[in-house]
Amino acid sequence: MTFDVARVRADFPILSREVNGHPLVYLDSANTSQKPVQVLDAMRVHNERHNGNVSRSVHTLGTEATSAYEDARGKIAAFIGAATPDEIVFTKNSTEAINLVAHSLGQHLALKPGDEIVISEMEHHSNIVPWQLLCERTGATLRWFGTTEDGRLDLAPLDSLINERTKIVSLVHMSNVLGTINDVSGIIARAHDAGALVMLDCSQSVPHLPVDVQALGADFIAFTGHKMLGPTGIGVLWGRYALLAEMPPFLAGGSMIETVTMGGTTYAAPPARFEAGTPPIAEAVGLGAAVDYLNALGMEAVHQHEQDITAYALKALTDVPGVRLFGPSTPEGRGGTLSFAVDGVHPHDVGQILDALGVEVRVGHHCAKPTCARFGVPAMTRASFYLYTTTDEIDALVQGLDEVKKVFG
């Protein structure tokens, strides 16, 4: 079966709109993805027919809402190969999921001066700042992997970087700037040998590749609904149940308790322990529908389509004079996220002129200032692809870059 991108596109209402008089060419899916009508319909039906609060009512609406919410949890567990739905904690986004682990695991491990946390230079700010703050709170030391010239993790210092003082290693699975898909198996093995726990920021991988947490071997992963065809307002933390069960709560309030008196409180088992307050219910339903949509196409097929587009785009951009690519230059070990510089033109200006042509790319530091600094630039232009991206859209990008060079020639 070939991947029918035209049929896929028909499911995304926004793709038929115009921008500045041109058909929309949306090349910013690493920032946020568009949503198919199936996801929007599922949320609408939920809100119009089954809206009630969860886990709190015996009434029919509450029971229907609870089933819908828990069904979504089950779908997401199956999607990533979790051992049980109880390993899935709904958060508001990836960022909250990482903060949750930084707080709760940090407290559980009783981090102290002398302990070390290892991240990398190619992280999103959401996988940097929570660990910086954890180090501030506890006196632990932050260390990091560097990035090689071709945009890969520099593994040379692996054995010294991860050592008996290392307690937590948290790395991006696929870079949102360089597109690199990190082969983390060696790092995870080393970390586990050293007695450290491993978190992976899968914000960019779970939407685009088949990800199986058993095969990955990490202890926690985070990802976010809005980058995988789902709504804003929902993210996911997966963690090994035995670890979650040992961790203290982070956010506190309704639904995460076992019993409360004014004098003290005991907590529910995971995942409830980590889901304080009314959760993003309709958003979970939407994310469940997004997972159904991805499953129906098959993540292998989605990934293959993106590999094809990426190969085409790498070739096309390499052929544009004055364009400098950051990150791996072949499709192997990378996803469909291409960052580049245009000689003598600031990314802001590149993005502005492309936008005038309906081509939506992201410009700036992509919430990854250290990655930009590593490559000696304050900002980059980034085109990122998804299951609805076509080669025509890559052609539109390339033509747009010619226009950019004309204006700033």
């Binding site: 886990s55 709190r56 009512s57 015996v58 509450g62 029971t63 609870t66 089933s67 828990e70 049980t84 739905p85 109880d86 308790i257 076992e258 019993t259 529910a268 088992a269 409830a272």
Partner: protein, 156 residues
């Protein structure tokens, strides 16, 4: 009304006239369980010797389903051997988790068959199971294993 056999006469009878209620001495295992969503509580005590339960006593606060379930538990398991109790326990848990698809065996479950209708109300399954889970823990503390698997869906 669409109560679909939830409030069987048998259940209401056990609720209004509970069997064996009240905490008694002696006992060698006790457990206190709470349903965090609704606040129902139960304490179960067992007195186990020579491999059988010579007394099962309990006290608690809760709805008709959880209270009747405790009464039925007392009736079914009091005086039984550990292995008898385990098979009844297993049959009851299976019935409750069957979403209304399991046909109960009256020979095993006695008045417990009245709970078949409860299995169709996911929000109430926890009520029915509360005393049974507390009993299992109390028995474990008395050194007797009465395990039957409870799926995570029912725990949630």
């Amino acid at each position: 009304m669409m109560l679909d056999g939830l409030y069987q006469e048998i259940i209401l009878d056990h609720y209004k006239h509970p069997h064996g209620r009240g905490l008694r001495d002696p006992f060698n295992g006790e457990a206190h369980h709470v349903n965090p969503t609704c606040g129902d509580e139960i304490t179960v005590r067992v007195s186990a010797s020579d491999g059988s339960f010579s007394d099962i006593s309990y006290d608690g606060l809760g709805c008709s389903i959880s209270q009747a379930s405790a009464s039925v538990l007392h009736e079914l398991l009091q005086g039984r051997t550990a292995s008898d109790a385990a098979s009844v326990h297993e049959a009851f848990v299976e019935l409750m988790q069957g979403r209304g698809q399991v046909e109960p065996d009256e020979d095993v479950l006695g008045d417990g068959i009245a709970f078949a209708g409860v299995a169709k109300f996911p929000a109430r399954v926890k009520c029915a199971l509360l005393p049974w889970m507390a009993f299992k823990d109390a028995a474990a503390r008395a050194g007797v294993d009465v395990s039957s698997e409870v799926s995570s869906e029912v725990k949630a």
